[in-house]
Amino acid sequence: MAQTLYDKIWQDHLVTEQEDGSALLYIDQQLLHEVTSPQAFEGLRLADRSVWRIAGNLATPDHNVPTDPKERETGIAGITDLIARTQVSTLDDNCRAFNIEQYDIHDKRQGIVHVMGPEQGATLPGMTIVCGDSHTSTHGAFAALAQGIGTSEVEHVLASQCLLQRKTKNLAVRISGELGHGVYAKDLVLKIIGELGTAGATGHTIEFMGEAIRNLSMEGRMTVCNMAIEAGARAGLVAFDDVTAAYVKGRPLAPSGELWDQALAYWRTLHSDADAVFDTQHSIDVTNMAPQVSWGTSPEMVVAIDGVVPEPVGAKEEGIRNACTYMDLQPGQKMTSIELDRIFIGSCTNARIEDIRVAAQVAKGRKVASSITQAMVVPGSGLVKAQAEEEGLAQILVDAGFEWRAPGCSMCLAMNADKLQPGEHCASTSNRNFEGRQGHNGRTHLVSPATAAAAAIAGHFVDSREFV
């Protein structure tokens, strides 16, 4: 029977299945970080259980680490927030106690889990990957079934290397047309979420297909899959192809030699069969699509850069009204009239080298507007940081007035000191614009790195295509 890509990966990892559809799914790789793992390790200890497969886990601290280069110099001891310091050192302690490999705060490979995994080759095609973080969907770009899980499930995977779950439905998002100059993967995924809605893919695994996806780099595909969760899907997928193979080859944890050839032969099968049936389908044509920007407090509240805040009408009237109040925007107001206070370029959505390159391209020879309180660029890992410095991108950004930070999740969720003040508007390359996400009463607009950098220069939203 014809299978979707999701069906294939599911079947390949199925340990047992009950009559009601509840299944034990074997997990190849669990990624751990400091925020959602301490209670899982504690649970193991309380029940006197061991880790099923130590090498099936890989850890790095990211959510809570400071990104101020000075604060980072002395590692954990330098974390001024004592509660955060305890959490990061607890990850150290747990990894040591259970013998789990960790790229700690001093390691050059440390970074946002969803940047680190692919960079190291810990993320491989055909794998099942979990992490106590909803943006684990990122790894689906490699034709891997990658899902965010809760802490009880983290403990379950630590103890058994399996996840207890039921199969989701299949949703195909078919994207036709080509992205125009100065329009990026982030614009594409924002547009998709705007159309599907924030719950449009609940209960489904999305496979992103079509010309525009095939033309994206792996980093672009990661950006798209990263935000599958913002449409409600626990996982997003892209079929394996030569672009995937070229990215994976030579990564430290990727296979080589004969094993590479063997893996490659299997990976070539990681696509939906031509006649595979999807439960749900959605098509979108991106020809002539403009850069996108979120105006409200849900990732589905998206318009084109030349668009306006919508009128509060229809089924979502109340949601639009609430969001306008929170964001201090008027229906009909032009997006380009919104003045920004802070700029954040970073997060597991957009903190890879291509993102930094685009930001630097926009910033080169220009200056951040004096009305901007802070514009920060936070690379996704120590290796991204090093590469950006080597390519001269960091210097370009600093010369333009951006702050160049140490790697971490930073202002995407503002657990550390990087946050908005009440009422501030931020152009952010992150993934969530929920109320208070980037700071108490802060106002987030989700955009691509190009749009964020252009907004930093102009002081307000502007069509970034004029800058690249």
């Binding site: 809760g150 499930e153 039921r166 299997y266 949601g319 108490h440």
Partner: protein
């Protein structure tokens, strides 16, 4: 896990769609390495006017008396009545820990986000999906000023309130797990032989997945 069999309680209507887990428990409370201590900060940004942080107690806070959970008649409510897509966003299980510690035993909504719903089942909190019209009927009564008492019977898979009895779906595995307060990890490890057998053949099939194993 705390078993869930039957529960009767007052339903508090949270009249808002797409409530995300950042609202249920804001990020500053996620620095804790414990499973407890989140109840006072449930819906923190809506419950209080001032910005919350770890270490602040409710006595130090400016209470938002307009927020539904702070309305006197809803004190002690143990059933949360919610709109569609409740619990979307972040996978933080802290959201369920906060709801549970506050006193909620179940959440009724027309739909839930997947990860949140999963997390509920791991903590003895029952997320009940009712038909849109049924949820609307419960909301209409509550918003009209009625104290809506709800009786949930998990074995029978029913929600009774006033004259109405609504049925809901749940998988056998989850039902069994909740009714018995089952240790799910223990139940999975009871199948250790199956996992080992699978792992052995899988390793033959996909050896490159085991490069870091020694």
């Amino acid at each position: 896990m705390t078993p869930f069999t039957t529960h009767t309680g007052l339903a508090v209507p949270l009249d808002r769609a797409n409530v995300d887990t950042d609202q249920i428990i804001p990020k500053q409370f996620l620095k804790s390495i414990r499973r407890t201590g989140f109840g006072d900060n449930l819906f923190d940004a809506w419950r209080y006017h001032d910005e919350g942080d770890m270490g602040k107690t409710p006595n130090d806070r400016e209470i938002n008396s307009d927020f539904i959970l702070n309305v006197p008649r809803y004190q002690g409510a143990s059933v949360l009545l919610a709109r569609e897509n409740f619990g979307c966003g972040s996978s933080r299980e802290h959201a369920v820990w906060a709801l549970s510690e506050f006193g909620f035993r179940c959440v009724i909504a027309p739909s839930f986000a997947d990860i949140f719903s999963n997390n509920c089942f791991k903590n003895g909190v029952l997320p009940i999906v009712l038909a849109e019209a049924e949820v609307v009927a419960l909301f209409d009564r509550a918003l009209a000023g009625e104290d809506v008492q709800v009786a949930v019977d998990l074995a029978a898979q029913t929600v009774s309130s006033g004259d109405a009895v609504y049925g809901f779906d749940i998988t056998e595995q989850r039902k069994h797990s909740l009714l018995n307060g089952l240790d799910e990890i223990g139940a999975t490890l009871a199948q250790a032989e199956s996992i080992k057998t699978f792992e052995g053949s899988y390793k033959q099939r996909r050896p490159w997945t085991f490069l870091r194993d020694v």
